[in-house]
């Protein structure tokens, strides 16, 4: 009974957060003197036709990866604000792989690309884990700084060694056919097989966290580091491991955008997937299965704001950031609202 009422409450608070956000958007449209039909058009192109839904699902996939990345660290009591940097290295590594072995058949190239993107993300994730475990430097500040460093480095590679000489913009050459994940289910939209991979990985993360002793130990250390130590867990080793795993999850974002859609790396391809991952994880209360759904929600938001920008005169797609912030605020103060109601 307890669990059931908790679920209902959870659903209610999510609905409330969405309602508040929607009201905010309507208010904004009104204030800016926009036509309200732009709202219904944007909604239609987010949920209610094949094309729109396809794009929404396309934006869902990377958020599942970054959401899981953030949530895994959260379970161990650690903050990974560095998914943004980790996913950049994942993307770059896929491009590098394609450049090194251009003629691999898809059957070999694709699994290799998935592994390489995870490994590259994992290596970048190793750094804050190492700094935390060995030097005691707080992971929040190191992951943020590492994001800036990753951005500079990856941009350098896009602009110099990997630059597409025939293109005017900052992007790499198109990868050979073996490295292209083909779109599925929704023709003319970029949603691709990596969505299925993302969902499978979410299930795997669930089993890992709640059905293995390693996962049990991570959750223990997240609740009480001392208790974990006394039960024989090495915090240093676990911190390193969880950051590597988190980084690997973030690195996999590349499979959706690079293998599945653009087939090349464009400067600034991520609209902040890493940061949105924080909101995704929070909304799902770090539950791996919940993350699939909250990713869909934030994926819709991403697509919706893009469409809104398209259908209105003066609203930029940054409106999604505002809604994101509002949802994080409402969710992080959820206990407060529930307490209020009891009194």
């Amino acid at each position: 009974m307890d669990d059931w009422s908790k679920d209902v409450k959870q659903l209610l608070s999510v609905t409330l957060a969405l309602l508040v956000s929607l009201i905010l958007v309507v208010l904004l449209l009104f204030l800016m003197g926009e036509d309200l039909t732009s709202l219904t058009e944007a909604l239609k192109y987010t949920f209610f036709n094949r094309f729109g839904l396809g794009y929404t699902l396309f934006y869902t996939t990377p958020l599942i990866f970054t959401g899981l990345s953030v949530a895994l660290c959260f379970h161990a009591g650690l903050f990974n604000i560095g998914a943004e940097g980790q996913l950049l290295w994942g993307a770059l590594s896929v491009v590098a792989l394609a450049k090194a072995f251009p003629n691999l058949p898809a059957g070999l190239a694709l699994p290799l690309a998935f592994s390489v993107s995870a490994i590259a993300g994992g290596i970048w994730g190793f750094l804050p884990g190492y700094f935390k475990a060995r030097r005691g430097t707080h992971e929040v500040i190191t992951t943020i700084l590492l994001n800036f460093i990753a951005l500079s480095c990856v941009n350098y590679f896009i602009l110099y060694p990997f630059k597409n000489p025939e293109s005017q913009s900052a992007e790499t050459s198109v990868m050979p056919a073996g490295y292209q994940l083909h779109t599925l289910w929704f023709p003319t939209t970029p949603v691709n097989a990596s969505l299925a991979v993302a969902i499978a990985i979410a299930l795997a993360v669930y089993v890992f966290l709640f059905r293995t002793s390693f996962g049990f130990e991570l959750r223990t250390m997240g609740q009480s580091p001392r208790a974990a130590v006394f039960s024989g867990v090495s915090l240093q080793k676990r911190t390193l491991a969880v950051f590597v795993m988190s980084g690997a999850l973030a690195g996999l974002v590349a499979t959706n955008d690079i293998l599945g859609n653009e087939h090349k790396l464009i400067e600034g391809f991520s609209p902040g997937y890493g940061f949105t991952g924080i909101a995704v994880a929070l909304l799902a209360r770090n539950h791996p299965i919940g993350i699939i759904f909250s990713s869909f929600l934030f994926g819709s938001l991403q697509n919706f704001s893009r469409e809104l920008e398209f259908f209105t005169q003066n609203i930029s797609k940054d409106v999604s950031l505002i809604v994101q912030a509002v949802i994080i605020i409402l969710v992080s103060t959820r206990d407060f609202w529930q307490r209020k109601k009891q009194i």
Partner: protein, 285 residues
Amino acid sequence: MIELIQSSLRLSTPLVFAALGGLLCERAGVATICLEGVLLISAFTAATVDVFTSSPLTSILVGMIAGSAFMGLHALLTQKAKADHIISGVAINILAAGLPPLLSQAWFGSSTNTPSVPSNARLSEPAIIAAALILPLAMHYLIYRTSFGLRLRSAGDGPEALQTSGISVGRVRTLALLLGGALTSLGGSYLSIGHSSQFLRDMTAGSGFIALAAIIFGKWRPIPVFLASLFFGFTEALPMILQGVTWRGLSLPVQWIQAIPYVLTLGILVTTVGSARPPRAIGSK
């Protein structure tokens, strides 16, 4: 050389304000990764007000109000609603990243920048820099020699003791955040209408986080934090100097140069500050 010192000072100024403003909040026991957002929103507000009023003084004041309001939101979320300090800070940073482009698009038709203001509507750089140089002494006095400072330090190091002696911890922290927000906003306003003549999207480029690193590096004490900010300002000035330098006909790619301040900051944090002791109750609800 003179040029290097000058640009170091210029680039240190926003860091000094943000680091000392953030110091106030952190000493009161509130983790402030939202410094970045406060810098950004105050920079945008000051620039926007300046476009309409051409009065730098009004602009800086409104900028301070905006920055304080964002810190006030942080106070509301962490102290009243008991939200996690880091999560609240992340939300505020996202909000502060999203609002300027949205409003700028609506008001000026461009989501990437506000219109440039004429030079007579800009802040006097020497005056602001001078203020930044005096600030650490004032902060030292405030924190160590006043009853507000005593309560502030208690809120960070022993909030239970403060509460039982009849002072509301939430109120002390809120006050510290509002004041810290106002100080940080001086840095933000300086960025847009002192150092530059307009607001550019994401123009703070992580200054708030570097200020946070300066707080940690300075071990949460005003004078060392000030010196750390000067040092980090210097690392930010380095790229400008290095930009033109060529060696045997090769020049360093601009992307590598841009990474220098972050790499240095990270390197310093990781190698030197393992054992710094933050305020005992930082992040407590």
